[in-house]
Subunit: 437 residues, 3 copies
């Protein structure tokens, strides 16, 4: 099934708009690695695709880790000596250090200051901070807000709870002809940050919706999970299932206007690595392929040596390298319908390669078969043969049961879709048979 | 046997002149993939080297193809309304679309025009066109000729025959000590085009004459064949024989003043590929090594997956990339004695590598043997040792039975001829024995 | 044992000064491949490290060579017609062609001239010449000295002896936990030349002193030998012992201010080759890694095909490429305390890699272990993790029993020392076990 051609029947402007609107709906929610925010987010995804939501109790052992307490928050503020809220959670949920323990005290500005975080270089932006694995509290605010604070007594309130509860994640499986799986994973734990990672969430949701009810070679598993602890929890509870994952992709920061980056899996030469590099080369401007490193998003867990799954990470701008990263400037203006749509298309194109990457055997391997009498060649001697016929010659030449279509696409320099079309035509023409996998 | 040294005893100016004169003799003949033209051409080659000429009847099945009818032509012209021949086959055989079916009709210019081919960009040149596998007819003329045609009735005559007959090719075998073969193949089906491929025909003929009656390691097979269908026919009739071909070279477009190009075999790392790249690097200016692709000349057939022979293609300017390609400008002025001669020398140098590329074993493998007392070293300590002695040290160091002389030449950066000389001297000096192949 | 950290406890200025002073002590001695000069040199080394000195009689067969006669010299001069010594061995021992046979004659300047060697390009410098394997005599002088010689009769005297005696070399072994050895070899046969090779002698001596009495993984063998014939003699007498050498380094020209060069062993990818390239990349400015070639210093013998030891060569400026090479300008001003010290440090760093280059196995291979609760991670989410924590993630990710620490250092781009520290911390923390070698 040629997924990319099917995809290109869609109206890209409409699809891009839908992606952005979905991100806008999700934006205001105060998510964290546990709690109501992520549950609410999963519910909104569930209204679009069939999602199995799992709750894992706090305290559960997951490999070397323990599922943490559940965090919820109703309100938070800093009141100035004059009684006015000068920092207000209701304005922006980034104002509270995520996972802050509850506090309600009055203190001097000097006592408060060690708990305040700003970005002096971008004095209008609010930073995003967490304190997941150390009980603490704090506020994030713009540097200009900080400079405006006068000495005196401040009322500090974080009306949060940190109690035994559950860690929640969602998964969506699409069955294919094989039980071998392709994993699409994205973290769903960040509060009001658009590129990181509402872009991943929305693209994954739409990708799942696009693939649903199609005739697929692979089975698909979409994970919407809290970063790090979510991936660890899922892997700990699905160790056997993880063994079926043949290819995987972590989606993050794919809504901004940066060029594409693909970070390779630990293998470095996995089919996913090659498919992604090939697709980006032929479907995007000046993409960059990054070597694997053990720091980053949840590919860290999927590529840990005990699993060593062929999971790469697709990004536009790379986390940590753009100034808006983990700040209030990573907002709905920072991501765009067109970019979200193009990222979705790239995901479809990568999956299209994996779905169709087969090995064929040329049934007329001695000399070229006569394409002319099959109307598969140019009519007049001397003209240029063009890329389509060239693709047919490549497929015939390299279809010895050893070269996959991706091998042929790479060696010929032609896009996979053209090689795949050539194989289709030659297969229809009785010149190829399917090789064994 | 050191073929290159033998070759360099020749007078290059004289040899170049002979090559060009031979091309000039062959130039006027109207060749095609079948018919009298190619037979006459083969007869002229036969007057220089022992050539076995084979005739294969039209209709014979050769793999996926059928040997086509034989095409012959006596005359062809377009007569203007005033009765004057405005396009005349007797002026230039490119004027007729090669393989045109017979026609003798009167028609309006507007009816004629769809059958006329020109090159608007080069309005003085006549293009070369064929219609081998679709029965059709046409004329090629200069664009200026076309512009001069006035409305009116034209008499159109192509006095050709397209009937059952034979496909003809020539082969010359030179026996060597081994039944393993080196194949030299060139297409002989083009009419008055000098670089494509009288250059290949003449160089191959002289190469064969040079190799004849020498003590050769390999057996040699020279094929003078119509392009595509000729190679397919030979392979179909000599499938077993083809299995003996260990190295091969297609010669085409090697008489012009362009720099050398070598297109690799499908293997890409075959000994022929490495030998050719090495020889061009050390014996020509700024050569270019091209990756294999399944389109081109008859390497397409030799490198089809069922055969997968280690056959590359030696060119100067690459077909399709120079404006004179497949036009009347590819004439006897476009090729030069000096370039033909240098191409011949490069062929000899490549064969010299293949003939002498052996593995030796150092009989004094523990430390360096004392070259000084054998007069194989410099006399005074402190001087530079020079490339000759350096070559000896390389041969001694890497002659462990695993490295071939070509391996050593590549790793040392020294020319094969120098490495081969070093091996000769050391072998004479009792420091090397021949390894098993 | 972390050798580099131990080494960095030294005072580099003091150590550099000691190296240079030692070179200054050795400088005046007239060394050759045999004779009192090298014996005296070895005695001075022996006063610093335990050295076993071996004497091998002239005439002994060593592989393809024969141990030569012993050369000693008391005096040499050229007296001008006026009776004045115009060339005097007592001024500089380079004045005599090393290994000159005795002569005492009177001759015309024209008869003398073929025996005189100068450097016209550097008219103040005296060249260094030898005539080891051909009995001859000669003088080296500055070109200005030569130009000043007037016609007339000259008294020529070389008061040397060339008689049966011994070839002498020194070796120092340091036992380690394994009988596998690391070889450090330097030639000790050059007369008053500082960089070539008092630099190698002094650094090797201090390296040996530094390693003595430490807890070492490998055993170490330091060779102080006459060039070429010394290495051949040692190998011929220790063929079995040589089989234990797992890594080796020839030290030469490492006292000048040139950037570092490392010439790879014949293997090219040996652990020594990779360790040296890695250390130079992280510990020196703009180093250059040279491919193996069979010409050079004693790596020629160690890398002969019968031995094929993983022995590379560490240099600063490469022999033959700097004008002072093999001239009187290679003197004590040409080498510097700081450069000698840095070369010593690089040697220690290379050995540090080899000593500590182990394979570990991650005991928590499924997902990342929780470094935070072990105080091995940053405290607050969102901050950059820094190189130290990054090194820990790399070690955990690649410690699958297959990747060595050097593999991890290379792949991560981090210095070995940092990777090694990370492995230490993780091993202490119970997260790693040692893999089998």
């Amino acid at each position: 099934m040629n997924l990319l051609k099917e995809f290109d029947l869609h109206d890209p402007a409409k699809s891009g708009q839908e992606l952005h609107s979905f991100a806008a709906e999700l934006f205001p929610i105060c998510r964290s690695i546990t709690g109501e925010g992520i549950r609410q987010t999963l519910a909104m995804i569930q209204s679009r695709i069939p999602l199995k939501v799992s709750d894992v109790p706090s305290g559960t052992s997951v490999f070397d880790w323990t599922v943490p307490k559940e965090w919820n928050i109703r309100d938070a503020y800093i009141k100035a000596p004059n009684g006015k809220r000068v920092v207000d959670f209701r304005d922006c949920n980034l104002h509270v250090v995520n996972y802050s323990r509850p506090i309600h005290e009055t203190m001097l500005l000097s006592e408060l200051k060690p708990h305040l975080f700003t970005i002096p270089k971008n004095p209008e932006w609010i930073p995003y901070r967490t304190s997941y694995y150390k009980e603490d509290w704090g506020f994030c605010l713009s540097h200009n807000q900080l400079l405006a604070l006068e000495d005196g007594k401040y009322e500090v309130c974080i009306d949060s709870t940190l109690e035994n509860g559950h860690l929640t994640y969602g998964e969506c499986s699409l069955p294919g002809r094989s039980t071998d799986e392709i994993l699409i994973s994205c973290h769903a734990c960040h509060p009001s940050l658009a590129n990181d990672n509402l872009s991943g969430l929305t693209v994954a949701t739409h990708l799942s919706r696009f693939l649903a009810r199609r005739d697929l070679r692979y089975s698909y598993r979409f994970l919407f999970i809290p970063g790090t602890i979510g991936a660890i929890t899922w892997l700990a509870r699905n160790q056997e299932q993880a063994g079926r994952i043949r290819h995987g992709l972590v989606l993050t920061c794919i809504g901004d206007s940066g060029k594409f980056h693909y970070k390779k899996s630990r293998h470095g030469v996995a089919e996913m690595d090659r498919a992604s590099a090939h697709v980006l080369k032929h479907n995007s401007q000046d993409p960059e392929i990054l070597e694997f490193s053990p720091y980053g998003y949840d590919e860290r867990q999927y590529c840990s040596p005990g699993f060593n799954l062929a999971v790469g990470c697709l990004m536009r701008s790379v986390w940590g390298t753009f100034p808006e990263y983990h700040t209030s400037a990573d907002n709905l203006e920072f991501i765009h319908p067109q970019e979200l749509e193009q990222s979705l298309r790239v995901c479809v194109a990568i999956i299209d390669v994996l779905e169709n990457n087969r090995r064929y055997r040329n049934l007329r391997p001695y000399c070229e078969p006569q394409l002319g009498r099959r109307n598969l060649y140019r009519p007049t001697g001397g003209d240029d043969i063009g890329a389509e016929i060239n693709a047919r010659l490549w497929v015939l030449n390299l279809s010895d049961g050893k070269h996959s279509l991706l091998d042929i696409a790479e060696r010929s320099g032609l896009p996979f879709s053209m090689i795949n079309d050539a194989a289709d035509v030659l297969f229809q023409g009785g010149l190829l048979e399917l090789g064994s996998d």
